[in-house]
Amino acid sequence: MTRDELVPLYGFVQGDTLGLLVLVRTTDTVAQLAAVLQEAATMRIAPSADVFVRHRHARLDPTLTVAAAGLTALDRVELVREANA
């Protein structure tokens, strides 16, 4: 069983101007991580329903937890629009 811990990640929202540091929990889903990234960039980028999280060039299953997706502290993740995939 995965312990519920905070994981800081470097997040990059496609279309945005800079990299952010977002905090998620190991038990959060990748879909929740996507929502955190959208919220963090919302004053510059309008949220979109058609996005997915990418890590090391691979699309992550939104139903996986952060831990199950293999994300660890200070990983780089990207929020990509489907149209640009």
Partner: protein, 496 residues
């Protein structure tokens, strides 16, 4: 009585032949720099100004008189109060990043005045130290007058004494460039790349912009500083020539490293001023046009003359001239409370001008300003937080600046694991510089690492107040509080 040309070389070229000590003990490599070469390799060192001490003192006295006269005439609060708020922000940005960096350059020049390998080099560096002391004092004196009128001008002196993120990045750059460098690296990094390649020409461009804006005080100040820079920047060329002759690979490395590091800072400070903070009607050319005309052409020609190649990342650099300062400006606009100057929201006319000047990159950047304008319209004027970020941002492990490399579609930041620790770099050149000398950089913590280590607070307000040292009176805001005529006719328009 001897004529000038009869005694000048005797005075400038006063190099001893040592009899009680070895030359290497007088100029140890640790202090003088590498490669260590006998004096014979350096004795052809010369520069075109060949200034005597009497000429130096006379010339500087005249320049001081000219500055004082302009200050008396147009350097009062009422004179600055007439300027556009955007231009005042450009003054605050330049004012804070300039003087204490110049003070650090006093140290670098003094080290060269003692450990430079030829006496004429040492003499010119001694004048350089006096120049840089002057460049510290002039902006401090002029802008101190404005502190009581606008407390953000207090950051002219305060910035480098804080842990504000621009200050952290500036110190990381300046400490290595000016305080820590040995005379050989200092001559290449500061005199050749930074001064000859960037700031000498930057001051020419900035004084022209200041003239167009009608700011005679700033125009005179940077003109006066530029005349000093033009002289002591000459130290770099002859040092580079000898270095190329004896260790070309090291010469190329120093040029490549310092061109990139200088570029990032130059882009932020001058890019903001030329493309955003100078009123549109006063702009004669875009920042990139200025870089193309004044930086790229002459730098390419210069390094070719010295037998060197363009830096290996040249294509990335050229592309970044259309993106980098725009990405940092938009990012900083949405984190404006973390700096000490205000930001202008570009309106339709400014954005049309930027689209014309940056046809390949602006279509990717414009949607961010559409979004921000919509947010201002939704919130109404004076509601700063609705267009302000609260999530911590990432910083590059090398340059310590925000992660704004690449393009909006593809940010160039990458994470590198080393000795069990993760580093993030905004660009390939920053990663390359770090990897060449990791022992120099690895112990420095970014703001993010300080937050994660518990040294700095994660809460943005606490970070800004307690760690950066900003207050509500001094932190950056929208220069017009969201009151722009161009928002009037839009739904939810905000002009009052």
């Amino acid at each position: 009585m001897l004529k000038r040309q009869e005694w000048l070389d005797l005075a400038r070229k006063l190099d001893w032949t040592y009899s009680y000590v070895q030359e290497q003990d007088v100029f140890p490599e640790a202090m003088s720099g590498r490669p260590w070469l006998e004096h014979a390799a350096w004795q052809a060192w010369d520069e075109p100004y060949r200034t005597t001490f009497a000429e130096y003192v006379t010339g500087q006295h005249e320049k001081e008189g000219a500055i004082a006269a302009v200050r008396d005439a147009v350097g009062k609060v009422a004179d600055f109060g007439r300027h556009d708020r955007g231009w005042l922000s450009a003054l605050k940005l330049h004012g804070a990043t300039l003087p204490l960096a110049e003070f650090a350059a006093v140290v670098g020049n003094l080290r060269a005045a003692r450990f430079g390998r030829d006496s004429a080099w040492r003499t010119t560096a001694a004048f350089g130290a006096l120049d840089e002391l002057r460049h510290t004092q002039i902006p401090l004196a002029i802008l101190h007058e404005l502190v009581g009128w606008d407390p953000q001008f207090d950051w002219t002196h305060r910035l480098f004494h804080t842990n504000e993120w621009v200050a952290v990045a500036a110190r990381h750059f300046v400490d290595e460039l000016l305080l820590g460098a040995n005379p050989i690296e200092f001559a290449i990094a500061t005199n050749f790349v930074f001064e000859t390649g960037f700031t000498n020409l930057q001051f020419v461009g900035l004084s022209a912009v200041a003239h167009d804006v009608g700011d005679r005080m700033f125009e005179k100040m940077v003109q006066s500083i530029q005349t000093d820079e033009a002289r002591h920047a000459q130290i770099g060329g002859p040092v580079l020539r000898t270095l190329v002759e004896h260790d070309k690979a090291y010469a190329q490395y120093l040029v490549d490293k310092w061109f990139w590091r200088s570029w990032l800072f130059f882009a932020v400070v001058t890019g903001f001023a030329m493309d955003y903070l100078t009123p549109l009607k006063e702009r004669k050319q875009s920042f990139r046009e200025f870089v193309n005309e004044w930086i790229i052409e002459q730098f390419e020609r210069m390094i070719h003359e010295y037998g060197l190649a363009r830096p290996w990342y040249w294509a990335e650099f050229v592309k970044s001239t259309g993106y980098y300062h725009h990405l940092v400006y938009a990012s900083a606009y949405t984190y404006r409370a973390t700096v000490w100057f205000d930001f202008v929201l570009p309106g339709p006319e400014e954005r049309a001008w930027l689209a014309e000047k940056y046809p390949e990159s602006w279509p990717e950047l414009d949607p961010v300003w559409t979004r921000l304008s919509e947010r201002w319209q939704a919130s109404g004027p004076g509601v700063e937080w609705f267009t302000h970020g609260v999530t911590p941002v990432g910083f590059c492990s090398l340059c310590q600046l925000v992660l704004c490399g690449g393009t909006p579609a593809e940010n160039s930041a990458r994470v590198v694991e080393r000795d069990g620790r993760r580093f993030i770099f905004c660009s390939d050149p920053c990663a390359w510089i770090f990897e060449r000398e990791p022992e120099r950089y690895a112990k420095h913590l970014t703001i993010v690492e300080r937050i994660l280590a518990g040294e700095a607070p994660a809460n943005l307000i606490e970070l800004v107040r307690d760690y950066f040292g900003l207050t509500e009176a001094t932190w950056g805001k929208d220069a017009r509080g969201g009151r722009y005529p161009f928002l009037v006719n839009s739904p939810g328009g905000t002009a009052e």
